[in-house]
C-alpha cells in the first residue's frame, strides 16, 4: 500500500537511489554503540524476567528445581503438554496478606521518599549555589558513602540504634532520657535506613536540575515584587521539577522492593514485599509464588511510572 502510493510521487530511478542510500547509510559505529547496552539489558534483564515470568506460571513441586515444568513432551508417546497455572496469581488476590504487604511497602517507600526529598533539597541547593572547589568537595562528600559496602553501613546503623547503642548511651549520659529508647526493629529505623541509604540518589538529580538554574531569575522575581520565600515556590521549585521527579523515582522504586533494610532494622511486624519475597523463596521454597509476587510488583510499580515518564517526555518536547 505504502509502496504503491509512494510510486505515484517518486519515479523509479530516485526510489532505487533511496533504497541504495538507506542500505549504505546504516551507521555501523552507532549500531555497535547501541547494540552493546541493548545486548547487556537483554541478557541480564529481559531474559531473567522471562524466566521469572515462566516460573510464576508453574506450580510447586518437590523436585530440583522446585517447580513443575511448563512444557512437557514425550516423543515416543507423541504428546506435548503445556501447563499454565494461574493459581499463584489467583492466590495473590485471594489472600489479603499480599495486598497488605504491597500497600505497606508502597506506604513506607512513599513516606521515605518524601523525607528524602525534604532533606535532599537543601543539600542539593547548597551544592548548586556554592562555587568551584567547594562544590566539588560537597559533591564528593555526597558520593563518599558509596565507597563503603551498603550492608556494612546498615549494620553500622544497628550499632547506633540498638538499646545500648551510641545514640542511647549519648542521650543517657546527657540525662535527656532515663531509659533507653527502643529504636531498632521499629518502622522508624526502617524509614531512617531508607532515607539514609537513598539520599545520594535524590541529591544528585536535584543538584543537576538546580545547578542549571540561572540565578538572575531569582533577582528578576525579587525585582518584580517577590519575597525570597515566594520566589522559591514560584521559580525555584517549578524549575526543579524534572530533578524532583527523577530523584523520587530513583528512591521510590528500589525502596518499595527493599529487603535488607527492613530485615536488619525493621521489627517482625514491618511488612514489606521484599521480605515476603524472601520468605516465599527461602522459607517456603515456593518459587512460583515468589515469582508471581515479583511480577505483580513490577506491573503495579513500573507500568504506571513508565506511563508518567512517557507523558512527561512528550510534554517537554512541545
Amino acid at each position: 500500500m505504502s509502496i504503491s502510493t509512494g510510486s505515484v510521487w517518486v519515479d523509479g530511478s530516485s526510489s532505487r537511489m533511496q533504497r541504495y542510500n538507506i542500505f549504505r547509510r546504516v551507521n555501523w559505529g552507532r549500531f555497535a554503540v547501541v547494540a552493546i547496552p541493548a545486548f547487556w539489558l537483554g541478557i541480564f534483564f529481559f531474559i531473567p524476567f522471562l524466566v521469572v515470568f515462566k516460573i510464576s506460571l508453574s506450580e510447586t513441586a518437590i523436585a530440583v528445581p522446585p517447580y513443575t515444568p511448563l512444557l512437557e513432551w514425550d516423543l515416543e508417546e507423541a504428546y506435548i503438554n503445556l501447563k499454565i497455572s494461574l493459581g499463584n496469581y489467583l492466590y495473590l488476590l485471594e489472600d489479603a496478606f499480599y495486598l497488605e504487604a504491597y500497600l505497606s511497602s508502597i506506604k513506607i517507600a512513599a513516606i521515605s521518599t518524601f523525607f528524602t526529598l525534604l532533606i535532599a533539597f537543601p543539600i542539593a541547593y547548597l551544592i548548586a549555589r556554592s562555587d568551584g572547589s567547594r562544590r566539588a568537595l560537597l559533591l564528593a562528600l555526597v558520593i563518599l558513602p558509596f565507597w563503603t559496602s551498603f550492608l556494612l553501613r546498615v549494620y553500622a546503623w544497628m550499632g547506633f540504634l540498638k538499646k545500648n547503642g551510641i545514640v542511647n548511651e549519648f542521650l543517657l549520659s546527657l540525662g535527656i532520657i532515663d531509659q533507653p529508647l527502643v529504636m531498632l526493629q521499629t518502622d522508624f529505623a526502617v524509614y531512617l535506613g531508607i532515607v539514609y541509604t537513598y539520599l545520594p540518589f535524590m541529591v544528585l538529580p536535584l543538584y543537576s536540575a538546580l545547578e542549571k538554574m540561572d540565578m538572575t531569575l531569582l533577582e528578576a522575581a525579587e525585582d518584580l515584587g517577590c519575597r525570597p520565600a515566594q520566589s522559591f515556590f514560584l521559580i525555584t521549585l517549578p524549575l526543579a521539577i524534572p530533578g524532583i521527579v527523577a530523584g523520587c523515582l530513583l528512591v521510590f522504586i528500589p525502596a518499595v522492593g527493599e529487603f535488607v533494610i527492613p530485615a536488619l532494622l525493621g521489627g517482625s511486624d514491618t511488612l514489606m514485599i521484599g521480605r515476603v519475597l524472601w520468605d516465599e523463596f527461602f522459607l517456603n521454597r515456593d518459587w512460583p509464588m515468589a515469582s508471581a509476587v515479583a511480577i505483580v510488583m513490577l506491573i503495579v510499580l513500573v507500568l504506571p511510572i513508565m506511563l508518567i515518564r512517557n507523558g512527561q517526555g512528550k510534554g517537554e518536547a512541545i
Partner: protein, 389 residues
C-alpha cells in the same frame, strides 16, 4: 491612556522652563540622587565615592568598559547590592534597607532573565500578580504592554520559542508593566545583532518618551550610549570621569580616557608655550610643530598636555592649504575604504601615526589619494581640545 499623565507633566515642565533641560536648571530637584556611594568587595573597590543626580524623564547612560563598576552601581539602585557607604534617594526617599521587592524600581536584565516555565503573558503578568492586581486588571495591562512592544499575538508562547529580539521585547514589557518610577536597563541591546539593535534603539527612546519613565541604562557600547541618552556618565575604575550630554562628551572630553574611550581620537603630546585666556599654543614634537587651540586652559607653564583631535575634523589635501596654523605634513601609509567614508593612516616625520576620516561625498572623489602620497593635514583652530589629564 496610561501614559497621558507623565506626558502632561513632562510638557508642563518643558514649557515652564522654556526647554532648558532639568539638569541645566539650578533649582531643579533630582529624581534619583546618588550621594557618595562606595561599594567594596573585600579589598576591591568596585564603586568609588560616586555622586550623581538624575532627573525625571531622563534617559541616562552609564558608559564604561567591563569592570568599571557600572553594573555594580546599577545593582545597588535595584537593591541587589547594598552600598558600603553613601546614600541613594529615589524621589526623595532614602533606599537604605529597602528590599528589592519594595523599591519603586524595575530592572531589565542583560540576560533578560525570562522565566522559562511561564508563557510570555505570564512572564509579563508576574509582577502585577505579586502586587495583587485583579484578574481583569492584570489581563488588560498585560495585553496593553504586549501590544506596545508588538507582541500581542505571541502571549501564549514560551520564552524559548521566541527569537532574541522578541525576548528582548518581552523583558522590556515585563519590566515596564508595573509602571516603575525608575527603569534600570543592563545592556538592553547587547544580545541583539547590529541591524536589530539600531531599530530597537529608537523604539526604546519612543517608549521611554511615551511612558515618561526615567531610564538608567548601563552599556559598554558608546554608539548605543550616544544615540539613546539624554546624558552620559562615563565610568572608569569605579569613578564617573565625565557626565555630559552626548555631544559634549564627544566634542569636549575632559580627559584622555574619555577622548579615547568614545570614538577614535588622535592625541599629540606637547608642552604649553603660550597660555592666553582665549587661546594656547602647544609645542608638540610628535606633531612636528606648534599647535594652536582657541580656548584657554588652566595649567602650569611648560606643563605637558595632550591635544585631542577627532579624525573627521582633519582635512587632507595634496596641496598646501592657505592656513599657517595647524597644518602638518605626512605620508599616507594605509587606506581603508568603508563605503560611507574612507579612513587614512598618515605617518608624520616624527613617526606618529594620524588617523583621518573623510566622508565619501561623491562616487568619484574629486581628489584621489593613494599609498605613499605626500599630503597636508590641516584643521580649524576650534577643532581640537587640550587635555590636561
Amino acid at each position: 491612556m496610561t501614559s497621558s499623565q507623565p506626558i502632561d507633566t513632562q510638557n508642563a515642565t518643558a514649557t515652564a522652563n522654556s526647554n532648558v533641560p532639568l539638569w541645566k536648571q539650578q533649582d531643579a530637584e533630582p529624581f534619583l540622587k546618588i550621594e557618595n556611594i562606595t561599594k567594596k568587595f573585600g579589598e576591591f573597590t568596585a564603586v568609588d565615592n560616586i555622586s550623581l543626580d538624575i532627573y525625571k524623564n531622563e534617559l541616562f547612560c552609564l558608559l564604561g568598559g567591563s569592570g568599571s563598576g557600572k553594573s555594580t552601581l546599577l545593582r545597588m539602585l535595584a537593591g541587589f547590592e547594598s552600598p558600603t557607604s553613601g546614600r541613594i534617594l529615589i524621589d526623595g526617599v532614602d533606599m537604605a534597607g529597602v528590599q528589592p521587592w519594595k523599591r519603586p524600581v524595575n530592572m531589565m536584565f542583560q540576560s533578560y532573565a525570562l522565566f522559562p516555565h511561564l508563557s510570555v503573558a505570564d512572564n509579563v503578568a508576574f509582577g502585577l500578580k505579586r502586587e495583587g492586581a485583579s484578574k481583569h486588571e492584570v489581563k488588560k495591562r498585560v495585553a496593553e504592554m504586549l501590544d506596545m512592544v508588538q507582541l500581542g499575538h505571541l502571549g501564549k508562547r514560551k520564552p524559548h520559542q521566541l527569537s532574541g529580539g522578541q525576548r528582548q521585547r518581552v523583558a522590556l514589557a515585563r519590566s515596564l508593566v508595573k509602571r516603575p518610577k525608575l527603569l534600570l536597563l543592563d545592556e538592553p541591546l547587547g544580545a541583539l545583532d547590529k541591524k536589530l539593535r539600531e531599530e530597537t534603539q529608537f523604539e526604546l527612546i519612543n517608549i521611554q518618551e511615551e511612558l515618561g519613565v526615567t531610564f538608567v541604562v548601563v552599556t559598554h557600547d558608546q554608539e548605543e550610549a550616544m544615540t539613546l541618552s539624554t546624558r552620559i556618565g562615563v565610568m572608569n575604575h569605579g569613578v564617573i570621569v565625565q557626565t555630559d550630554e552626548p555631544h559634549d562628551v564627544y566634542e569636549y572630553p575632559n580627559s584622555r580616557f574619555v577622548a579615547e574611550f568614545i570614538g577614535s581620537v588622535n592625541l599629540f603630546e606637547g608642552k604649553v608655550v603660550e597660555d592666553q585666556p582665549a587661546h594656547v599654543r602647544i609645542d608638540s614634537a610628535e606633531a612636528g610643530g606648534t599647535l594652536f587651540v582657541n580656548h584657554g586652559i588652566s595649567c602650569a607653564p611648560e606643563q605637558i598636555v595632550h591635544v585631542a583631535l577627532r579624525p573627521e575634523k582633519i582635512k587632507i589635501s595634496h596641496n598646501r592649504p592657505d592656513q599657517t596654523e595647524n597644518c602638518i605634513q605626512g605620508v599616507i601609509e594605509e587606506i581603508a575604504y568603508m563605503g560611507s567614508l574612507s579612513v587614512f593612516k598618515v605617518r608624520l616625520p616624527s613617526g606618529k601615526e594620524v588617523r583621518v576620516t573623510q566622508p565619501n561625498f561623491t562616487r568619484h572623489m574629486g581628489e584621489r589619494f593613494t599609498w605613499e602620497d605626500k599630503v597636508f593635514l590641516s584643521w580649524d583652530e576650534d577643532s581640537s581640545v587640550v587635555l590636561t589629564s
